[in-house]
């Protein structure tokens, strides 16, 4: 039996008889189950909200259809026309949680999840405001206890708790010279010991996570495999850190402190530092300032419109027996407001793009950031998806406006038949799968590179293994 296999077998025996491995697996299961329960509650809340919005949309359509069918006649059409038409295209765009949304709330709560699509509403007013839970004191005090928190922050602690004494105990007890006097290379011995930890410590933790996700989410095998792969890489990164620390530490206490310092630096301080750098280099745009600026542009369009006589706004000969002029004026006003709003948005978009570029680059600063980013992408709770929803919802608004303008041009009201054929519906397409995969692979590469870097340092240290016997 090779050094690798016999060491793995021996380490497995030691870990199981040490009496800590099973409690550690159990602790991780409890953490995952608790976080998944939290995640399920959040997902359920959001699904209920989305369902309620869509139900409201369907109810509105049913009501309008009924009004058209039962109340509007040729005689009263003029009276009903404007009011009915103005609210006829009452559509909603919603962003439903993804199949793996229980992984993390991520940035989903920082962005709107629904939009009111009405052709006669200015585009700065279509998105619902969402602050759900963010102002809740318990959320502020306890942080967001989701699976991402467990995986990004707590999993490393469990991996380090199970591997901090990879070789330091042998050194502390004076066993190292006797062990290394056997005809086996120190590198092979230590790699074998680390592999044993990977097999009996990290792999079971990943299996527990996948089991919990399988039971609590609707994710398919591909998504579960992606999570497993990413988390496995992350676990191996922390194992590599433990290995490196053990090449320097001469006592278990030193190794424990070294691992703890590594965790603090890489999982806690570095992400905070990275965010600080991003804030300094490319501060985020102020949402209140942006909202006010856009509102000002919408008001400017309204003020301009008030100064215009109807004849200047509506082409002569475009008589409106069915649709009142006020609605036509409103259509022209929102078109003008759209131009002004898009112009006003430009500097904010530039600012957001610059910040996003910094944040993307700073993902490479720590595997903890990369994992958080990867989990958010897998959970469909990332900022890119949320922003893309806004773009698509806005696109849908323009599409609905174009349809409404056709009706205006033809002075045609919606009919029961229009409702029966079905009004346009918002379908979120999301980012191209290729882009999503690239970003996910990039996150995986950052974690793998981090692990490789630690292993490279370990290799350099192991080129002169004499110190291990001291």
């Amino acid at each position: 039996m090779s050094t690798l296999l016999i060491t793995i077998r021996t380490e497995a025996r030691r870990m199981l008889r040490g009496g800590w491995l099973l409690p550690l697996w159990f602790a991780f299961f409890v953490l995952c189950a608790g976080a998944a329960w939290n995640g399920m509650a959040w997902v359920e809340g959001r699904q209920t909200a989305v369902a309620s919005i869509l139900e409201d949309e369907a109810d509105t359509h049913a009501m309008r259809r009924k009004q058209l069918a039962e109340e509007v006649t040729a005689d009263n059409r003029q009276r009903y026309g404007g009011a009915l038409y103005a609210t006829a295209f009452s559509l909603r765009a919603t962003l439903a949680p993804g199949a793996l949304a229980i992984l993390t709330v991520g940035q989903a709560e920082g962005y709107p999840m629904a939009a009111n699509i009405s052709p006669f509403a200015a585009s700065n007013t279509i998105f619902d405001q969402h602050t759900a839970g963010m102002e809740n004191p318990s959320v502020l005090a306890a942080g967001r206890f989701d699976l991402a928190f467990v995986l990004v922050w707590l999993l490393p602690l469990l991996v380090l708790a199970g591997s901090f004494d990879l070789f330091a105990t042998e050194r502390e007890r004076g066993m190292a010279p006797w062990l290394l006097s056997q005809p086996v290379s120190p590198a092979r011995l230590l790699v074998s010991k680390a592999l044993a930890r990977a097999l009996f410590l990290i792999l079971p933790l990943v299996a527990i996570l996948v089991g919990v996700l399988w039971m609590t989410s609707t994710a398919g095998p591909g998504a579960l495999l992606s999570v497993a792969g990413l988390v496995l890489l992350y676990g191996l990164f922390w194992l590599a850190l433990a290995l490196l620390v053990n090449l320097f530490a001469t006592t278990a206490a030193q190794a424990a402190l070294g691992c703890l310092a590594g965790w603090l630096a890489l999982a806690v301080l570095l992400p905070a530092l990275a965010l600080g750098v991003a804030d300094l280099a490319a501060p985020p745009s102020n949402p209140n300032e942006r909202a006010n600026a856009l509102r000002a542009e919408a008001m400017r369009a309204r003020a301009e419109m008030k100064l215009q006589p109807t004849a200047a706004v509506i082409a002569p000969g475009n008589v409106a027996p069915n649709i009142p002029d006020s609605l036509r004026r409103r259509a022209v006003e929102v078109a003008r407001a759209e131009i002004l709003i898009q112009e006003a948005l430009q500097p904010y978009r530039v600012q957001d793009r610059a910040r996003q570029a910094w944040l993307n680059a700073l993902r490479t600063a720590s595997p903890a950031i990369a994992l958080q980013d990867g989990l958010e992408r897998l959970a469909d709770a990332d900022a890119a998806r949320a922003r893309h929803f806004q773009v698509e919802a806005h696109g849908f608004l323009l599409q609905v406006r174009a349809i409404a303008n056709q009706y205006l041009a033809q002075d045609r009201l919606l009919t029961v038949a229009d409702y029966d054929r079905g009004l346009p519906r918002f379908v979120f397409r999301g980012l191209p799968a290729r882009d999503e995969l690239f970003e996910l692979l990039f996150d995986a590469a950052v974690i793998a590179f981090g692990a490789a870097l630690l292993l490279a340092f370990a290799y350099l240290r192991l080129r002169h293994p004499i110190h291990l016997t001291e």
Binding site: T10, R13, R14, M175, P177, S181, Q182, P183
Partner: protein, 241 residues
Amino acid sequence: MLHTQALTKYFGAHCALDNLDLHIAPGQIFCMLGANGAGKTTTIKLLLGFLTPTSGQAFVDGIDVALDPLGARQRILYLPEQVALYGELTGLENLDYFAGLAGVPERSQVRLRGWLEQAGMPAAAIDRRASGYSKGMRQKVAIALSIARAARALLLDEPTSGLDPQASAEFHRLLLCQRDAGAAVLMATHDLFRAREVATTIGLMRDGRLLRTIPAGDVTARELEQLYLEEMALVTNALPA
């Protein structure tokens, strides 16, 4: 089997070993005597490849340790002052692991038990966890490993320090068995009397230098003690008769 040629080791400006020439043939026991810091442990570490010589060479069975430390260790069994075992494993499992690391191919339960019993391990202790083993019992596991590996050279660093007289006597009996099996033994010790009993040759070391080699059969215990004290410059006059 064990051979050094002008072996020298400096730690900074401090000379830990100075031009050591040593030749230990199979079936010989060479005991190094000397105070702490005399260079005994440094010699052993150089032969194990744990240290790189400043100059000179160390050979095990003709293999240059600096060039092929693993090849050299394949032929050596090292016994430190404290043999540490994995406390979570039984004596038999420890032996299985260390023998496996050393590449011993046939490690059936029967053979492992046989080696342990041959080393004097009580049968009742073989399947007990090593965390409860005495120092003597841990050393027996090491001796069992030596038997399992059929080690051609033994490097012993104060192996009987801290052992009770009975355990010490038993250890030396086992050592003689290894010698009779053809092993070359280099032992660093402070125990002059045991050294004289088991050694073929005794070397007196001080300040990294081998001052004198003495055939063990040529001196009495008292003469050896006298020589030791003289060489260590601990006394200037002979002890009274």
